[in-house]
């Protein structure tokens, strides 16, 4: 069966296939992260103490997650990711206004911010490893690394897709017909839906893991 790539809404669904497709994918992602959030609740409710491990410097039992994790770094990353969501939607708006240069700028910023997020994350992970702790150290760190690690994999995936559209994929716009330009704009919108979802997951991860 051939699924035609059209950016005009289908009469039966009211949306184009790419949009319905990405939303179905995001629905499955809700279950993927939802399952791990449930695991977090399970581990936390079953634990005698949370985070249930010693602090790195004073070696007393930590009573708050922020004695193990860096809230300032995570706050910085929250701001970075929110900003990248804004530049992502601005890159789409630029195409809607037929302004390719502005698209390149905003999409470039989105990619740089995402890379910045990963660099900060790497510093956080590095700090943990330098203290000789790993996912196996405690249930708290186990679920921390799984949730933030899976999220980081999603960020990496988003960077790859966005970098493709910033670079070689943009040929569709620069060398394309009016129809191809409409297709490219649709691709950016769909990639944006994924990227905003990655931001959305972090909006829940940040308070759940770092703050409470």
């Amino acid at each position: 069966m051939q699924i035609p790539y059209e950016v005009t809404p289908r009469p039966d669904t009211g949306v184009n296939n790419a949009k319905l497709g990405i939303w179905l994918f995001l629905a499955s992602e809700v279950m993927l992260f939802g399952g791990l959030f449930a695991a977090y609740v399970f581990l936390r409710m079953g634990a005698d103490a949370w985070p249930g491990m010693e602090t790195f410097d004073t070696h007393v039992m930590a009573t708050r997650a922020d004695q193990i994790l860096s809230v300032p770094l995570a706050t910085l990353n929250t701001v970075i990711l929110i900003a990248s969501s804004v530049t992502m939607v601005l890159s789409w708006a630029a195409l809607k206004m037929n302004n390719f240069k502005q698209f390149r700028l905003q999409m470039g910023l989105t990619i740089l911010l995402a890379l910045g997020f990963l660099v900060v994350k790497a510093f956080e992970y590095g700090d943990k490893f330098s203290h000789g702790v790993a996912p196996e150290t405690s249930n708290f760190l186990g679920i921390y690394f799984v949730l933030t690690g899976l999220h980081a994999v999603h960020v990496t995936g988003g960077i790859l897709v966005n970098a493709y559209f910033w670079g070689p994929g943009a040929k569709m716009w620069t060398q394309g017909s009016v129809r191809a330009k409409a297709h490219f704009t649709n691709r950016i919108e769909v990639a944006g839906l994924y990227w905003h979802f990655v931001d959305l997951v972090w909006i829940f991860l940040f308070p759940m893991i770092y703050l409470i």
Partner: protein, 111 residues
């Protein structure tokens, strides 16, 4: 989101995106500051979740254009939400099934 938008309409959207950006930054600051109040778990969780849900709604409604989306997308989300709630209900019911956990939760004022 409709395929045909005038440049004026897009510009109006951009202004909304920037306002949402400001709101998200303020809410991030609020959620961090509130966490230093040293509340007990139940109220801290309630406040953190409340702020996170507002932030997530802003992202979903404006950046993901859910505020002006077609019905079929809403149904996909309703389906996902139903499965998510079902999964959490299964987990939580099994937690409450363990007597000592149920007692602990009630002691913490969560259940």
């Amino acid at each position: 989101m409709a395929a045909e938008m005038t440049v004026q309409e897009v510009k109006r959207h951009v202004r909304v995106y920037l306002m949402v950006f400001g709101a998200l930054l303020v809410l991030t600051l609020v959620t961090v500051l509130v966490s230093y109040l040293d509340m007990s778990l139940a109220p801290a969780l309630a406040v953190a979740l409340f702020i996170a849900i507002i932030k997530a709604s802003l992202v979903a409604l404006y950046f993901m254009h859910l505020i002006s989306e077609r019905q079929v997308i809403y149904w996909v989300l309703v389906l996902a939400a139903a499965f998510l709630v079902g999964m959490f209900a299964l987990f939580i019911s099994s937690l409450l099934d363990q007597a000592e956990v149920a007692v602990m939760l009630m002691g913490a004022g969560v259940a």
